[in-house]
């Protein structure tokens, strides 16, 4: 396999005649394995190893047109053909036809050598972790366990025609489990510790499963709902990240307009804030710089309930007359990407639960991706909403919950609570519930 550096160097050389360029190349090896219905491996979840080179290139040609291309392990061998293909697909986009000036990348550690060793030399730890998750889940009362673990190690080069050349190593680990096809949890990190201390988390998922076996009848109506942090992550992604994305704002497909950002519009409660931090050491969403060469940083998106800035790449920064920002890493849920949501003085999750006289704890929903992100309206099914009475999980019911996420965030009775396993808080607010 060609290293990322080799591919990046070959590309940079080939692009020397272009008016401008930027590229990101990653070489990586990934190990993963899964368990379906309590059994490791099998035809559908075998242990797997992936080795590849991936990345992207952006070219500004002499005539001002631009091209986008993908990079793979065969790019070096096919460079001439690729260049010709990219040239043939050039298009005019004057706002995009710029390469960011050189800026110092953020110094952030992203690699754990122990993880690289597991990927390349000693996969037994991955097998051990997977079987340990299953064993704990069974002890916690699960009849059916689906689980998976994965780890990866790689090297990334990001370079631009304006002088940036940053090369860095990175690792990642993940693990997740689903008990009885109902209650799930997912962990993601960069250090080997991500696979450690899982027993209490698996056990707490088992407690939810145990409570759900007592099916209860609910009256429905307006009910206090505690959204589990993973569900809040989904809500944040679907409603907040969508509407704060620069392309959505500039193209008028967002709930918010550029004018509202300029005016510092009070769109949320005054104790609400949202920021993105891509410089947290060893965090899954951290990086030295974006693919465009914009340094990783902390971006305040909403402060004191007021809109501050959308998330802007260089193109939409130019279109909106604002400065480009760090961007969330693709494919990560908001908490792992580095979004930090604050609402009022957060409680501890345990305190929120124990102080609830009566509420529904919603740990998973069906249909989030089908909802209209702009209006904020939601209407979601939860197969196992857990009934909380006097601070304890006492049963479960299938419900449909509906409301408007922006209204819930704006409600003075809505509260946030910090859960030790998540970066995103749990939220408790009032929804319409159909039982």
């Amino acid at each position: 396999m060609f290293a990322a550096n080799d591919t990046a160097e070959a590309l940079a050389k080939a692009l020397a005649t272009a008016a401008g360029w930027r590229l990101t190349v990653t070489s990586s090896a990934r190990l993963s394995m899964g368990m379906d219905d309590g059994e490791l491996g099998g035809a559908y979840s075998p242990p797997r190893k992936v080795q590849e080179v991936s990345g992207s290139v952006f070219i500004v040609w002499e005539d001002g047109t631009v091209s986008k291309g993908l990079v793979s392990g065969s790019t070096i061998e096919q460079l001439k053909t690729k260049m010709s293909m990219w040239r043939s697909a050039a298009y005019r986009d004057d706002d995009a036809a710029h390469i960011a000036p050189l800026a110092e990348p953020a110094p952030v550690g992203l690699s754990d050598p122990r993880v690289a060793k597991v990927v390349q030399q000693s996969p037994r730890l991955a097998f051990d972790t997977l079987t340990a998750i299953a064993s704990t889940a069974r002890k916690a009362g699960a009849d059916n366990v689906d689980a998976s673990v994965a780890c990866a190690a790689g090297n990334t080069v990001t370079a631009t025609s304006t002088g940036l050349w940053v090369s860095y190593a990175h690792t990642s680990l993940s693990c997740g489990w689903v008990l009885n096809k109902s209650f799930a949890m997912w962990r993601l990190g960069r250090a080997l510790e991500t696979w450690k201390g899982l027993e209490p988390m698996v056990a707490s998922t088992g407690e939810m499963l145990a409570a759900s076996r007592n099916r209860v009848e609910l009256a429905g109506g307006r009910v206090r709902v505690i959204f589990w942090p993973a569900v809040v992550d989904q809500l944040v992604q679907h409603y907040l990240v969508h509407n704060l994305s620069g392309d959505m704002v500039v193209e008028k497909r967002s709930r918010f307009s550029l004018d509202q950002f300029a005016a510092g519009h009070a769109a949320f409660r005054n104790d609400f804030s949202l920021e993105l931090d891509t410089t947290i050491p060893m965090a899954p969403g951290s990086y030295p710089c974006t693919d465009e060469g914009i340094p990783g940083s902390k971006v305040v998106l909403v402060d004191g309930g007021r809109l501050v800035t959308p998330l802007l790449n260089t193109k939409y920064a130019r279109k909106s007359g604002l400065a480009p920002t760090a961007l969330p890493a693709a494919g990560l849920s908001p908490g792992y990407a580095g979004f930090r949501l604050r609402l009022g003085e957060p409680l501890a999750y345990g305190a929120m639960l124990s102080s609830a006289d009566e509420a529904l704890l919603v740990t998973g929903v069906l249909g989030m991706h089908t909802q209209d992100p702009v209006s904020g309206n939601f209407s979601l099914a939860a197969s196992d909403a857990l009934l909380v009475k006097e601070g304890r999980l006492v049963g479960a019911a299938k419900v449909v919950i509906s409301g408007n996420f922006f209204d819930i965030l704006g409600d003075s009775d809505t509260a946030a609570a910090v859960h030790p396993a998540y970066e995103t808080p749990a939220l408790a607010g009032v929804c319409r519930v159909e039982a």
């Binding site: 396999m1 394995m33 379906d36 219905d37 059994e39 490791l40 491996g41 099998g42 035809a43 559908y44 075998p46 242990p47 797997r48 190893k49 992936v50 590849e52 991936s54 091209s67 986008k68 291309g69 793979s72 392990g73 065969s74 690729k82 293909m85 990219w86 043939s88 697909a89 298009y91 986009d93 996969p123 037994r124 097998f127 997977l130 059916n144 096809k181 109902s182 193209e251 008028k252 497909r253 709930r255 069906l366 249909g367 089908t370 909802q371 209209d372 992100p373 702009v374 209006s375 309206n377 939601f378 209407s379 979601l380 099914a381 197969s383 449909v400 509906s402 408007n404 319409r432 159909e434």
Partner: protein, 498 residues
């Protein structure tokens, strides 16, 4: 036509040879994918992209039934050998952890063939400049309908080739051309802050979906209708939650057939899905009225066409439900025998990185003897739907029927049989009035929904397109139904409130 994947015969040979040396059964999958895409917002090109990628993956099965998989994006004889070794090492290691044993591969029929799907306006026969022009035009014309509208149009065309080679001498090549164009339309009322989003799409094998006069007109008709709906939704109110007699369009019906039923018929879910009992498919069980059938299978020219499974087996057309009775499962060789069903070549993989899973291609739910609807789907208005219902005695004085229009996605839990779908808009139909309502989820129990089908309206339309997600893999999916299905009110089928 020369296939790119035909160039890798030496790598195929070396992989099989290395497998023989190691005493493992090997399945090598090589994928070559050429793609172009364009997107435009309100008439301005936002992005264009053109590229090709290839890679190969090897799945090995040891004599003891342990399996491992390895893949890379460099296709060389040396890399092929190394993949077999890596996969065999992982398989062997998993054996020590009591890994699930795999069998069934020995029963896959040996196949040596090449299947070619023509795409007259495919990626090599149509210009990128023209694609850019059409996409920009579609986006501009839709946004120009009203100042309150914004339109983002995205187009993608793919030519995908696969080669599957197995230790039993199987060597099969096939291609899967496809194209899709979709507009996401947002209406926004600056004064009230209200907003609504809808979508319109066309799909097929090639650029003809927008580049022929008929294709263009179909796409723009759908876009205009949806744009007007988005504007009207700014004034619409919610519908009261509850159980109603429903009409769903063919795209929603495809969602119902695919999400709520097709996934439950896949053989890898034999231990937990609702259509299986004690690990066996409940063939012979009545699950729908006698005039209802559900069929899945590749349709040439369709967006989700796949003639050969990713395990190198010809893909069959499967009657999942025939005349209301559960008949056949969607199965691959690895789980068919254990599940007690016939393999149907249902294995599909997103890419060379993935192992195939039993899944659908084009699924259609049809009701025999439908209520006639003598016009194209694009020309059908809510009034036409209402009149068809009244004519068939399915909407009477004092009754309310909800017509759910436009599919915005769905999700199902096959183990519990719970499903949710969302639509773009709801029309509240009575004999005297039609009121537009805000979308709300359509949720319930799979078997209840199927049993409650009362009638079909119009001939089948089967071009509802999507991406089917399963175990982290996304593959093209499509399907449809009669233009509309009528579903009776049932306690287990709900329209949620907003």
């Amino acid at each position: 036509m020369k296939r790119r994947v035909a160039d890798y015969t030496e790598a195929c040979y070396r992989a099989m040879e290395r497998g023989r040396d190691l005493g493992v059964y090997a399945i090598l999958r090589i994928q070559h994918r050429a793609e172009r895409s364009v997107s435009a917002a309100n008439g301005a090109i936002q992005s264009a992209h053109c590229d090709e990628r290839s890679g190969m993956g090897v799945q090995v099965i040891t004599p003891d039934g342990a399996t491992g998989h390895a893949c890379t994006d460099r296709i060389t004889p040396e890399a092929a050998e190394r993949l077999v070794e890596d996969a065999a090492r992982l398989a062997s290691m998993s054996q020590g952890y009591g890994a699930r044993k795999v069998d069934g591969h020995q029963r896959m029929p040996r196949l040596i063939t090449s299947v070619h799907c023509e795409a007259p306006m495919g990626i090599e026969n149509f210009s990128h400049e023209e694609e850019q022009r059409l996409v920009a035009k579609a986006s501009a014309e839709t946004a120009a309908i009203d100042p309150a509208l914004a339109c983002h149009t995205a187009y993608g065309i793919v030519h995908e080739e696969w080669r599957v080679v197995r230790s039993d001498g199987t060597d099969v090549m096939f291609n899967m051309p496809r194209a899709v164009c979709r507009s996401s339309i947002t209406a926004r009322d600056a004064s009230s802050g209200r907003a609504a989003s809808v979508g319109a799409a066309v799909s097929g094998r090639d650029a003809s979906i927008i580049a022929t006069p008929e294709g263009w007109e179909r796409f723009m008709k759908r876009s205009r209708t949806q744009a007007r709906t988005a504007l009207a939704l700014l004034e619409a109110r919610g519908v009261k939650a509850g159980s109603y007699r429903l009409v769903i369009d063919y795209a929603l019906a495809k969602g119902l057939a695919h999400e709520a039923f097709g996934h439950s018929a896949e053989s890898d879910g034999m231990r937990t899905s609702i259509l299986w009992r004690d690990g066996k498919f409940m063939a012979g069980t009545r699950v729908a009225p006698p005039n209802v059938s559900i069929v899945d299978g590749p349709v040439e020219g369709d967006y989700a066409y796949q003639p050969v499974s990713s395990n190198g087996v010809l893909r069959g057309t499967v009657h999942i439900v025939r005349d209301g009775v559960l008949t056949s499962a969607l199965a691959d060789a690895f789980s068919a025998a254990e599940a007690g069903v016939e393999p149907t070549g249902a294995g599909r993989a997103e890419s060379y990185r993935d192992v195939p899973l039993p899944r659908m291609s084009n699924i259609r739910l049809t009701v025999a003897d439908p209520i006639p609807m003598p016009r194209d789907f694009e020309d059908v208005t809510p009034e036409h739907v209402r009149d068809a219902l009244v004519g068939a005695g399915l909407l009477q004085e004092g009754q309310v029927v909800l017509y759910l229009s436009g599919y915005k996605g769905g999700q199902v839990n096959p183990a519990k049989g719970d499903f949710v779908f969302n639509c773009s808009a709801i029309y509240e139909l009575t004999t005297s009035a039609i009121r537009l309502r805000l979308p709300a989820i359509f949720s319930g129990k799979v078997l209840s929904a199927l049993a409650a089908i009362l009638a079909g309206i119009g001939d089948p339309v089967i071009d509802a397109q999507g991406t089917c997600g399963k175990k982290g893999q996304g593959v093209p999916s499509s399907g449809g139904a009669n233009m509309f299905l009528v579903i009776d009110a049932a306690p287990d089928i709900r329209i949620g409130g907003v």
